[in-house]
Symmetry: C2
Subunit: 228 residues, 2 copies
């Protein structure tokens, strides 16, 4: 049995080596004015929140095995009361008037490792640039924004993102990762200086191979610096 | 009207200059086996989560104006099903069988600035050492533990705690703050070296006054280092 008052929503960030994206769905058309949304659904009565987040993400997008963490609970009493979402609620909910509090989850993945496909009430699932999100259903824009702040905080404290680069990488790759998540561009010299001064990375005695340009030095993460 | 399925719980950490404490209540005795708990209660149907956290904390402990932030949602289907808590639920809840999901909030305050007093279903409210918490009702021990990890992460990244010391302080005061929150003791020389090397603090051209021992140098927080 479904709990009519509690849902989970998932913000899956995908990094493609250059850009940060967010996994969105296009809901099946039932006349609603906002068709794009995060994958999310109600909690089962006997289900834990973390389990629900994994189940719902899988049911709607087929993705599984992600490291989903909470990014906040959203409980504005009017969060599912917008007229633009009403036709969808009427088609998909037995009690479309019910107040719904949602627990948001987020994850950061390498896009190449996952291949989402739509099912349930999703017509389509797609990656959208995190810095160019269309109008979303309910309060999903706010949920994305909050998850993005959490992610930015984590990446600037070097708590996430290490698994997104290969074991040995160039400083240009680190800079792309930071730039895409923080949506900024950094001066190359300053960025390198900071990465080395703050000891985020350790220079290796190796260079890139198989590139046409002058091969760049390779680095690895400084594991001492990463552990808190 | 009260929402039977959603509550908020507040973990208020208090620093007294030496030790880290948590604000607990002793529930009125109705024969339950676990009387100590966090201040928490159900959400009103038309109420936002943040508003509920402020209201509930005030109703139970009289504290207001705290900077409360979410530290997680707790939704184990059995979280309010322990036999030890049943008499309390039967006395205080119209539907003691209902599943309750709780949104946890936390704050860190200077203890001297706040003077809690018990009301509602609290018999007593008191500060308890954060590193010596008795058995608590429901899953409140887990909620305290999670909030404490969040706080530790924040203090080790220097994102909280600055307002807990006076504007000018000694390195011994900084060390006490870190030690109390991280529940560790640090070597004095190493701690000082780290604080100065990492530029957390700026040495001032001033010393303590009005002390009997040799006056120590005063420092202030390095505001550049604190801003993320």
């Amino acid at each position: 049995m479904i709990n009519p008052n509690i849902s989970v929503d998932c913000v899956v960030f995908g990094f493609d080596g250059q850009n940060l994206n967010v996994l969105l769905i296009e809901q099946k058309d039932v006349g609603q004015m906002r068709k794009f949304a995060l994958p999310g659904d109600h909690l089962e009565e006997d289900e834990d929140l973390d389990t629900a987040a994994q189940r719902v993400l899988k049911e709607i997008t087929s993705l599984s095995g992600l490291y989903l963490r909470q990014s906040g609970a959203f409980g504005d009493p009017d969060r599912v009361k917008n007229i633009k979402d009403l036709p969808w609620l009427q088609s998909n909910r037995s009690n479309p008037e019910a107040r719904v509090i949602t627990i948001a989850y987020y994850a950061l993945v390498k896009m190449e490792d996952f291949n989402p496909s739509a099912s349930s009430f999703a017509e389509r699932v797609f990656w959208q640039s995190a810095h160019n999100i269309p109008e979303l259903a309910f309060d999903h824009s706010k949920i994305v924004k909050t998850a993005l702040s959490t992610l930015r905080q984590e990446v600037s404290e070097l708590r996430v993102g290490h698994e997104l680069l290969p074991e040995k990488f160039t400083l240009t790759q680190v800079q792309s990762l930071h730039e895409s998540i923080l949506n900024s561009s950094f001066d190359k010299r300053n960025f390198r200086k900071k990465a080395l001064n703050d000891s985020w990375v350790i220079p290796l005695d190796e260079k890139q191979t198989g590139v046409f340009h002058k091969p760049a030095r390779l680095y690895s993460w400084n594991k001492d610096r990463l552990s808190i």
